[in-house]
Amino acid sequence: MSDTHAHSVAFVRKTEIPPAPPPASQTGIVKWLRENLFATWANGLLTIAALYVIYLVLSVILPWLFGGVWNTSSLAECREVLQGRVGGCFSVLTERWPQLIYGFTYPTDQYWRPNVAFLFMLVAIAPVLFFDLPRKLLYFTAAFPFVAYWLIWGGSILVPIVAAVGIIAGYFVFDRLNKSSFAAGFFGAIATAFVIWYLGGFLIPEDQSGAMLSPVPSRDLGGFMLNMMLGLTCVSLSLPLGIALALGRQSDMPFIKWICVIFIEFVRGVPLITLLFVASVMLAYLFPPGTTTDLFLRVVIMITMFSSAYIAEVIRGGLAALPKGQYEGADSLGLDYPQAMRLIILPQALKISIPGIVNIAVGLFKDTTLVSVISMFDVLGMIRGPILASTEWNGVYWELLGFASLLFFVTCYGISQYSQWLERRLATDHR
């Protein structure tokens, strides 16, 4: 082609033009700014307004945060140090740290016990959260509730041991009887555990003074430790209960179904605070006359009931989302109801329900602050009660409330991030 026209065309370029750089407004940061911040007039105004809001918030918070005072022993001293300059009196956090974390009556020389329990908790939770860790660690998780109970409450070591022995014996009985019938194994295990607990009750000495760890009564627990204990205990207890309620609500047996429906709808219809009122003033009337049950246990019972109803609804959603073929497939394999549930249905249904369950868990953990209303001294109760009422720190609102918010934000945001990671990890469908 070039040959035919070579004589008639003055100039033919033999080499390619080097690519010109795109216009400055179409690359890099300028383009990004244009597209994302100043695409239209309205958008630009919105950006400026947003920048102004950010400036307002930061101009208040940053000087307060960085001009803060960390080591004085009262508000008056702190104000003296600040001399009218803007800054937070964060010394309330350093000075009252033990009270914020452990409550104000936990024996001071025993703080190492909750600390150790907290470390153990991290180790115990790790294999549950991350599947890549060695499975052997689950034995430690199983032992953790008993160890943690003994560490925090102290007293005779026989109490957690008897409890553990009862559960282990129950497990072995279940394992043996399960081969013939699930129901027999289930009821046999419960009966065995109760017999062992009853017999073990005679072993435990009434007088706890000689115990290795000095006993701490429940009313001495407080601070953020109380929030964590309530959250962890109630979520772990309400999971099995929630599964049972969800299965009961799906059951073909009308009587059982209606018991579960009434329980779930009742609990979901009333606010948690009324249930806590029940725990604090009404539940005592329902226990056998002459016995006293401590407030912590009563609160755990009510919060567990509360969250199990919500978890049941989430799991019911998961059960309903499974295709019918899964149920029919399990039936056609000749599995009976417990086997089908345990091997086919629940593993899939629970996987679908994970985000919902995590939401409930986060909500529940936040709701543990409500116990401050029935005069338990959790972190919010400590702040509103003993700390703000003390003469040294009367009037230090922002530092304390900000600290409590930060504790909850870090925990809850962490849990929800974990749940998103887990969802991606468990996604087996290829999309």
Partner: protein, 408 residues
């Protein structure tokens, strides 16, 4: 009767109760019924014995006795000589008031934040994400306390409005924002609004406006059909609705009782107490963050093809959102929105933390402590919340059914 001939009739054995699927479910239900009856009997027995030991009985007579305490924010007539039942009624109305107000504002906040979170403006989207995450992950009780503290610490006291050169002044000269609450003008009629004549007059004016608006709309439709362009009717309609009404009210002698500083506090006008505002605002922004997430999920559930098709028809982005995306997203948003409204109603019980006199604070708080009737009070309290929850969900379910996609 004839089918019984072929298979030999099985004799009933006791083990069939557990092993035969025909009877097994009956066995289990019977066991469950027996266990339930036993535990109810056990708990009831404990209750009776404990009550007898404490010298109490179950009776609701205390509801008729004078309550003997004052409530600072009431919607109906109430004083310390009123009965406990009256106090409970005040509490119920206060609960419904704050729940209603918070539902409205939380929806507004939630929709704005949810839509803005999907904005193409990077900064605004990130700002909304921060708002949602911060408010969702901190307990609502802490938010209520924080906002109540802000109100007390930041707003001026009534004292500071005093003097020739006060530290604080009233907003536009008619409303005062103080740390004891917000005072706004109260409308009232000089010669009293009453009588059938006044009412008939108002109804006549409203009817007149209604027909005038219909005429304006019909004219707009005629013009649209003739020329293809619909004249703007919004402002005309608003003027027709409100203009005559305002003139009528002024003619009838409508004036405003503007709050004024008297003694140590403001007098006159409507007082909106600090606790109510704190609770209202805290519930709104907290629940608004959850609603924002529901709105976002709902909008994202509308397939992209819908947006693209709407753009291809030549609709502007605002109209794409209003006419195509939001109506479809609404179907996804409504069910979770219902449960957020229920949450607001239930969370309003946290009023007790800031001293707002809702039903939990009156019936479950002061009345309970004064009379010691714990069981009765708590049962009534639960009954109220249960009824409220069931009513709200029933109402919203009807609404949900009415906007559901009608499929063939």
């Amino acid at each position: 009767m004839t089918t019984m001939t072929d298979p030999p009739k099985e004799s009933f054995q006791l083990s069939m109760l557990l092993n035969d699927t025909r009877y097994r479910s009956l066995t289990f239900q019977a066991i469950a019924a027996i266990l339930l009856a036993l535990s109810i009997w056990y708990l009831g027995n404990n209750l009776i014995q404990n009550l007898r030991a404490a010298g109490l009985n179950i009776s609701y007579e205390f509801l008729g006795n004078p309550s003997g305490y004052d409530i600072n924010q009431t919607l109906v007539e109430y004083d310390s000589q009123s009965t406990h039942a009256r106090a409970a009624l005040v509490g119920i109305l206060n609960t419904l008031l704050v729940a209603f107000l918070a539902c409205v504002t939380a929806t507004v906040f939630g929709v704005i934040a949810g839509v803005l979170r999907l904005s193409k403006n990077w900064l605004v989207a990130k700002l909304m994400a921060v708002y949602v995450e911060i408010f969702r992950n901190i307990p609502v009780l802490i938010w209520i306390v924080i906002i109540f503290t802000i109100m007390i610490a930041v707003l001026p006291g009534p004292r500071e409005f005093r003097g020739a050169d006060p530290d604080a002044s009233m907003f536009l000269g008619v409303a005062a924002f103080t740390n004891r609450g917000v005072y706004i003008p109260q409308p009232y009629f000089i010669r009293g609004f009453g009588g059938v004549a006044d009412l008939l007059l108002v109804i006549a004016f409203l009817a007149g406006s209604f027909f005038a608006v219909r005429a304006v709309n019909a004219r707009a439709t005629r013009i649209q059909e003739a020329t293809g362009e619909r004249p703007q009717t919004l402002w005309t309609n608003l003027a027709i609705w409100f203009g005559p009404l305002i003139v009528l009210f002024l003619a009838l002698g409508l004036t405003f009782d503007v709050p004024a500083l008297k003694g140590f506090n403001f007098a006159g006008g409507i007082k909106i107490g600090g606790p109510l505002i704190a609770l209202w605002f805290a519930l709104s922004i907290y629940t608004g963050a959850f609603i924002a997430e529901n709105v976002r999920a709902g909008i994202q559930a509308v397939s992209k093809g819908q947006t693209e098709a709407a753009s291809a028809l030549g609709l502007r982005p605002g109209r794409v959102m209003n006419l195509v995306v939001l109506p479809q997203a609404l179907r996804v948003i409504i069910p979770p929105l219902i449960s957020q409204y229920l949450n607001i109603t239930k969370n309003s019980s946290l009023a007790i933390a800031v001293g707002y006199a809702d039903i939990t604070a009156t019936l479950g708080g002061i009345t309970l402590n004064q009379t010691g009737r714990a069981i009765e009070c708590i049962l009534l309290l639960m009954l109220f919340y249960l009824t409220a929850s069931l009513l709200i969900s029933a109402f919203m379910n009807v609404y949900n059914a009415s906007i559901k996609l009608k499929e063939r």
